[in-house]
Subunit: 430 residues, 2 copies
């Protein structure tokens, strides 16, 4: 028969295993981030190559493709190290499913590159293809963030996911702006797209600031205060204020691309800093849990089962818990006071301490995850609006934002309202 | 190198493993429910034994103790079958921690029984001791419900947890009422407690009805429509309307106990029905997932990687997803149309189908879990009020309900408000 102490130890071992799993997941997120960075650059160079009718950027593009092929191999190797034995990974089904999708995309990449080399696809279509692949890769990061069972690690992963998402919007901004400059002519829809991308970055960075540690936030603030940002804002102004159909200086295409690239490289440095912090947090937590485990393993279960067995019932909860009357989840007893120093009571004490800690962690985890879910709540009604009112994504988002302003409510509240309305919306027109 | 197909299969295997784990968890919940039922009866008989100064119910109590000892052994055996290898159980740390706590309580049970036999403890203190142990057992059920990764199973477990919780409130009502009748005298605080317990049952049954399948709900409705219920309500009226200090017919003690016991036995039957349904749902789902797995394993990965690799990029999403622009989680492509019947595209199709299904399941799971979390949100501020204003749990609950009525808001909204206020509340008086 397993004793309470056995299960106390089993619980601690589970915690350690989960934390070790998180270390692996963090490594995966890190390699994924590097491939994303490489593909973002490849996307930009491919755009410049296509915009120049293949006369420029052929060399840099080839070099970047070679670089990405290396990163691709590295990520596949990292996927291979994952333990795909069932039930070894929490959240395994969803993570593996995302990886399966990404691998389909990576397998398709050589074909895409051939099309670009042959200039068979437009810059826009090319951009969309890379965007889709990168979205798939970010999906892997999202699942990693959603699977973390430790609130502090989850917090870091949510920060990181949002930062990577912001960087991807910055990359799409680079591609869109480069296309506009290269075309030499302003285009209203593309300008709107640009504004939307800038705003999306800001929103993601806001979430990032909310969840990231002070160190990473400081690093990011440094990067954003750089002189480069003034140049970026100047070029953004030129791009966004030109009248529809007005002339743009095609020579600025390269300037814009370099300016955006410097910014993205800086963002990558912040991302690497986050990844480093993440590894440290995991290591620190594994060490602490391992120390607890040694303490538990040194205890003698047999000695504790005989004497004063009534302590379970005797300690009076000094602070409130819903153990007696009242609806609600079965509460856990609060810290017992006046336990004395009887060794024989220490297991009960340890059990209660651990249970309370796990419950507090669970509560905090929910708060962190809520921020991931909040985005889902905003995304779903956006999709509804797009389907039912034939809006583009930008238009749908703008509509919801306008509703929020008009009704003086938060975007999330409007989103919930739209979802609640979903059942009475007319069926989608064919 | 593992292919997309490998990970598609790995994801499906994880799903199957999680469902099999849920079957084990369901079995655990079932045995736990049986021990809870036994302990509820033991609590009631112990109360009657104590109230009669040890002159009555000694025999039935002894028989019930023997019955509970059997169930205790059965539950311990069930705990022993759990795979405590780290990372074999999702949510392992929390579940094992709850089990460790329960085992401490079960170890303490013989000591409690001795005290009762020697009539060393009051009925109230005795009741509280059983309440604490049963709350610990319900905690195991709570973790089981919180750990389910399949929304349908989670829904059933949430229904079951709420039903078991309702039944426990019914058990506490039985004990409280039996004590009042046996004492032969009405007591205001105990009458309030009774009313609170009745109301708590109703609340739990409401959640149960929301989440349970039609079959179980019907079964429950049958049980509640029974003639027994009229008798129960008549006795409740006698108990609750007697003036403070007024006489109660001590002879009704047995009548009350039997009437409440019949109700609880009926509730146990509903609970068993739920457990049966749960096993069926799990089996059905494992079978479906296994059939999918066979389909996947029959596919030939190599044949699919060469031809028309661009399909990943080519299918145009006909419905909206946040893959291109816009903040939010990286979306998954929506069903591709006009795929044709090319075998070589079917893996991509399968990957997308699976990813969409898992995402939809995740969304639904959140909704179900929210109901568990909503209770936590209501419990925490209740605790705050109790600590800061020195209220009993009933008083705290009543205060919050009164606030909700005064402000015309939902209880959950008031709860959130109290939590938000927590930081500015004065420190707890010593």
């Amino acid at each position: 028969m397993k004793s309470g102490l056995n299960f106390l130890i089993a619980a601690k071992r589970c915690e350690i295993a989960e934390l070790q799993q998180l270390s692996l997941t963090s490594a995966l997120v890190n390699v994924t981030g590097r491939l994303i960075h490489g593909l973002q650059r490849e996307r930009g160079l491919s755009n410049l190559f296509l915009a120049s009718q293949g006369e420029q950027f052929a060399g840099p593009r080839c070099e970047q493709v070679a670089e990405c092929e290396k990163l691709d191999a590295e990520l596949r190797a990292c996927f291979d190290t994952l333990d795909t034995e069932p039930a070894r990974m929490g959240n395994g089904a969803r993570l593996f499913s995302r990886i399966a999708y990404v691998l389909q995309g990576l397998d398709a990449l050589p074909g895409l590159r051939e099309r670009i080399h042959a200039r068979g696809w437009s810059p826009r279509r090319t951009t969309d293809a890379y965007v889709r692949l990168i979205a798939g890769l970010l999906g892997v990061v999202f699942e990693a963030a959603d699977s973390a069972t430790d609130p502090e690690v989850s917090r870091q992963l949510v920060a990181m996911f949002n930062f990577m998402q912001a960087k991807e919007f910055a990359g799409q901004e680079r591609a869109t702006g480069a296309g506009l400059f290269a075309a030499g002519r302003a285009h209203f829809a593309e300008q709107q797209r640009l504004l939307h991308l800038i705003e999306s970055q800001e929103r993601c960075l806001q979430v990032f600031n909310e969840f990231a540690g002070a160190q990473a936030t400081a690093l990011d603030a440094d990067g954003r205060a750089a002189p480069n940002l003034a140049e970026l804002e100047r070029l953004r102004r030129i791009l966004c204020t030109a009248p529809d159909g007005g002339t743009l200086d095609a020579q600025l295409s390269q300037t814009w691309f370099d300016c955006c690239s410097r910014r993205m490289d800086r963002m990558k440095a912040v991302e690497d800093g986050l990844a480093g912090e993440l590894v440290q947090v995991c290591q620190h937590k594994v060490a602490a849990a391992t120390a607890d485990l040694s303490r538990y393993e040194a205890l003698d279960a047999a000695a504790t089962r005989e004497t004063d067995a009534l302590s379970f019932f005797q300690e009076a909860p000094p602070t409130p818990v819903a153990t007696t009357v009242g609806a609600g989840m079965p509460g856990l007893p609060t810290p017992a006071q006046g336990y004395g120093l009887h060794l024989e009571r220490s297991i009960l004490e340890l059990v209660q301490e651990q249970a309370r800690r796990l419950q507090a962690m669970g509560d905090e985890l929910e708060t962190v995850r809520a921020s991931l879910n909040e985005r889902k709540v905003i995304e779903r009604p956006k999709g509804l609006l797009m389907a039912h009112r034939h809006l583009s994504e930008e238009e749908a988002h703008k509509t919801m934002r306008q509703m929020a302003m008009n009704q003086n409510r938060r975007l999330i509240e409007v989103a919930e309202g739209v979802l609640a309305m979903a059942e009475v919306l007319p069926a989608r027109r064919p």
